[in-house]
């Protein structure tokens, strides 16, 4: 009996630790632009299959006045959760390559369940363009890599799940 319990504990430990090691990597390039250039505001978030945000990964922004210009993220996520906005806020970045790593967890730090999700990336420049990238993916215990098409605001990006 004790052996069986120990076995279960070990299995559980193994499963949990394996699940927790699941990581998200995003390699993104903010495109160089000609003419007047303001660093873009960037939001990256993950929605579940009901279109509800479960995790905001990135928020690069200026003052609060400009948050509304990250239209979709602001409407669906930011405006309802000022604590989240404060917690994840970071300064804007200039054009260039960025490689970002995250644990595959939700806004509360809880592991994301297996299932279907959509990654959304919204990039907005003052007196410039806006782009939104949407990529459906599944968390299913398998490592995977997606290529995200270029937009006028971003060059080809890759998005990976590492188990």
């Amino acid at each position: 009996m004790i052996k069986k319990w120990l076995f279960l504990l070990v299995v559980q430990f193994f499963v949990v630790s394996k699940a927790q090691s699941s990581e998200i990597e995003l390699s993104i390039n903010l495109a160089k632009q000609t003419g007047e250039y303001h660093n873009p505001y960037v939001a990256v978030w993950i929605e579940n299959d009901e279109g509800k945000s479960v995790r905001t990964l990135v928020l690069w922004r200026e003052g609060a006045k400009w948050l509304k210009d990250i239209r979709t993220w602001w409407r669906k996520v930011g405006r309802r959760d000022s604590a989240l906005v404060d917690a994840i806020t970071s300064a804007t970045r200039p054009a260039g390559d960025y490689r970002l790593n995250f644990k595959a967890s939700d806004d509360q730090g809880k592991r994301l369940e297996n299932g279907n999700y959509t990654l959304k990336i919204e990039v907005v420049r003052e007196n410039g363009g806006r782009a939104i990238i949407k990529k459906k993916f599944s968390l299913n215990g398998q490592a995977q890599t997606y290529t995200l098409k270029a937009t006028p605001e971003t060059n080809i990006a890759t998005f990976s799940i590492k188990e």
Binding site: G63, K65, K68, R75, G78, R79, R80, I132
Partner: protein, 270 residues
């Protein structure tokens, strides 16, 4: 419905709408973010060209219901020759309802030999029409009309600031006005004297009417629950116009009670 009756209704609705322009409140922003107070402005105009202004109107009747339910007025206003403009300070988070306060107005229509078509008397109810109507007036009808010119502006998190007066035709959002978005289904409800109203005729006109050949108005009619639903393929600013008339049995002032709603909103880019 007989063809003749339908024709009569069409003529009447054309006649009544010919009396008044469309009206609207167009805010500079429908949705704003900020850590402190935010200023917005709004145009108020009567015009038939969405959203190009034509005549000033109503800034003295401009009312605001703050997220906490208190009523407020704009901080300042300007009446020009083509539009009125108001300045509004948003301090607390939530949704602000903005509208033009309006009383019931009475219109009496009649026909008379020698003059073609329907004639109209302003500010004339059943109580005072006999003194004003010419001898031999036929088909006399008095319409009590109340309009609601309105919009919603949201600072940070939205709230359901939808309080109704339960008088005449009113709009009650189901989808929050700040959540009407491109390619997403939106739902609104119409109530008359506070009860869901079937058969309300609705038109939704997109901004920029001057720059296209067809008005391309989306036409809808409210269902049994007083509801309409629509999905707008394009982001942008829209004017919703709703109309409804109901005959009155025991009203000493009018034979019919009518209402109009002019609701300005934006469909957010997705």
């Amino acid at each position: 419905m007989s063809k003749l009756k339908l024709f009569a209704i069409l003529v009447l609705s054309m006649a009544t709408s010919a009396q008044a322009h469309n009206r609207w409140i167009l805010p500079t922003h429908f949705s704003v973010s900020g850590e402190e107070q935010v200023w917005i402005m709004a145009d108020v105009t009567a015009s038939n060209e969405t959203f190009n202004v034509d005549k000033p109107m109503g800034s003295d009747r401009f009312s605001i219901i703050k997220p906490n339910g208190e009523r407020a007025r704009p901080s300042s206003s300007f009446r020009g020759h083509r539009k009125s403009v108001v300045d509004i300070n948003l301090v607390e988070d939530g949704t602000y309802k903005m509208f033009l306060d309006s009383d019931v107005s009475y219109w009496t229509s009649y026909e008379i030999k020698g003059k073609g078509g329907t004639q109209w008397l302003r500010n004339t109810s059943k109580a005072n029409r006999d003194a004003k109507l010419p001898k031999g007036a036929k088909n006399v009808n008095t319409l009590a009309s109340k309009s609601q010119v309105m919009t919603f502006v949201t600072l940070n998190a939205p709230t359901e600031n939808y309080r109704l007066t339960k008088q005449g035709l009113e709009l009650k959002p189901i989808t929050h006005p700040s959540d009407i978005a491109q390619n997403e289904k939106a739902q609104l409800q119409f109530v008359f004297d506070g009860l869901p109203q079937k058969g309300v005729e609705v038109e939704i006109i997109k901004d920029g009417a001057r720059y296209r050949n067809n008005l391309d108005a989306l036409k809808l009619t409210s269902d049994q629950k007083g509801q309409i639903s629509f999905t707008l393929p394009e982001a942008g600013r829209y004017l919703l116009i709703a109309e409804f008339k109901k005959s009155q049995k025991n009203n000493p002032l009018a034979d019919e009670m009518g209402g109009q709603v002019f609701f300005t909103f934006e469909a957010v880019l997705n």
